[in-house]
Structures are given as structure tokens and as C-alpha cells.
Symmetry: C2
Subunit: 134 residues, 2 copies
């Protein structure tokens, strides 16, 4: 029994997650564990924006989906905790910080591409942004 039901009983174990951290592990399934990190309506949009070269907190809030700042802050903490993004000094000479994808984060490109392609194939009203800021 590869699910190891004895270790991961059929109960809701995700109620006690600390703020910013991923919920408790639900099973050893790689899909479930991945969704514990980015399974929501916003996280992959932040990853998309990072691929587009956006890096600062305010850059992410400027995207057309209008991510609420409390959700953005929570997701960035989670992505940092899971090593998907890392902080770097901002390029404007201030002491502010920016974010960039780690190797683990960059490898989410395949997930992002699959999600994008599915959307393009099944919702003809969608379109890809050709380059950042356009």
C-alpha cells in the first residue's frame, strides 16, 4: 500500500499550518505534496511574473489579476520557506529586497507551460502575454 495510510490517516491534517508555511503533508503523493506548496489561485501567477522578470513586491501587485497584498505576502513567505524563491537586493540602490526564482523555482516552468497550454487549448478567449510589461 504505497499511500501509507497508517502514516497519513484519512483526516484533515491541514488545519494547524502556521501562517506562511505549507499545510501539513497529506500523503506521499508528489501531486498532493506539490499542491501543498502552489495549489491555489495565486502562487503560480507570482511564479509567472518572476519568469517575466518582475521582482519587487509592488511589481506583483501591478499585475492585472490584482493580487491582494496580504495574500501576496503570505505566498512569498511560503515560496521562500520552500526554496522556490530567494531574496536579493533590489537594483534601485535602496536597501529594499527583491525576489528571484531558485533552480527549484525555475523548474516550475514546465508546470507553468502545461497550465498555460491547457488554458490556450480550451479557452479560446485567453491569450499569452508576449513580453513583460506589454
Amino acid at each position: 500500500m504505497l499511500w501509507h495510510n497508517s502514516i497519513v490517516p484519512v483526516t484533515r491534517r491541514n488545519q494547524v499550518a502556521k501562517k506562511g508555511s505549507a499545510p501539513a503533508r497529506r500523503s506521499p503523493c508528489p501531486v498532493a505534496c506539490s499542491l501543498d506548496i502552489f495549489g491555489d489561485r495565486w502562487t503560480l501567477l507570482i511564479v509567472r511574473d518572476l519568469f517575466f522578470g518582475r521582482a519587487r513586491f509592488k511589481d506583483f501587485t501591478a499585475s492585472p489579476e490584482g493580487i491582494p497584498t496580504n495574500i501576496l505576502a503570505d505566498r512569498l513567505v511560503r515560496l521562500l520557506a520552500h526554496g522556490v524563491v530567494e531574496q536579493i537586493p533590489a537594483e534601485d540602490g535602496t536597501k529594499r529586497l527583491a525576489y528571484r526564482l531558485t533552480e527549484k523555482g525555475k523548474s516550475l516552468g514546465s508546470v507553468l507551460k502545461a497550465v498555460r497550454d491547457w488554458g490556450l487549448a480550451w479557452d479560446k478567449s485567453t491569450r499569452v502575454q508576449l513580453k513583460p510589461g506589454t
Copy 2:
């Protein structure tokens, strides 16, 4: 400006979604529109189970992640509404219904595979279920 900010202003338009329906469209981005359908911690697990041949409501609740029945019911309504699954008579001779993936749903296999592969690559404690029910 391919995001059409004038059409999709930076506001939270997802607060008025009817139960079971997808939230209001946030932008023309295919990633955002796809996440409006399956961007949560549970929906792709239901799709995974459908690929494994599970078909009945009780089958999904038996998976090790222990999906709450109210969430399962909500997600099945949403998947039906978006043509990702369809209802068929159950094979037990009763009048009960079961679910199966449509072509649109089957094409989520590429998304599921990308998510699975990312999980397997970056969380060495995860493992793939070899076959249904094992």
C-alpha cells in the same frame, strides 16, 4: 497592452462567484483562467483519481488525502460546469451516477504529469502510486 487592463481592472472580482462555479475571470491570461478552474489543493487530486479509474463519490473520499465531502461536492459541480468531467451511470446496476473525464479533462494529464514530476524531482520523500488501489 495584451493584459487589457481596461477590461480587467486591478480589483478583486472573485468575491461574487456562485457556489460551484468558477470565480469571475481575473484576466485573459491562460494561466489565470486555468487556475480559476483547478487552482486549489484538491481539484487536481480528483482528476488524478479519475485517471486512476476512480469514478464514484465514495471512491474519491477514500483517497489518503481525505478530501472533505463538502469540498468534493463543490469541486465536482465546478468540474461538471467546466466540462472537465461528465456524469455516467454507475456500473453497479443502481441508479447512482459516476464521473469520468471528458476530452478536456483527459488533456489535464499533461498538467498532472508536470506537477507530479516536479514533486518527484524536488521532494525525495514522495512516491508515485503504481496502480489504483495499491
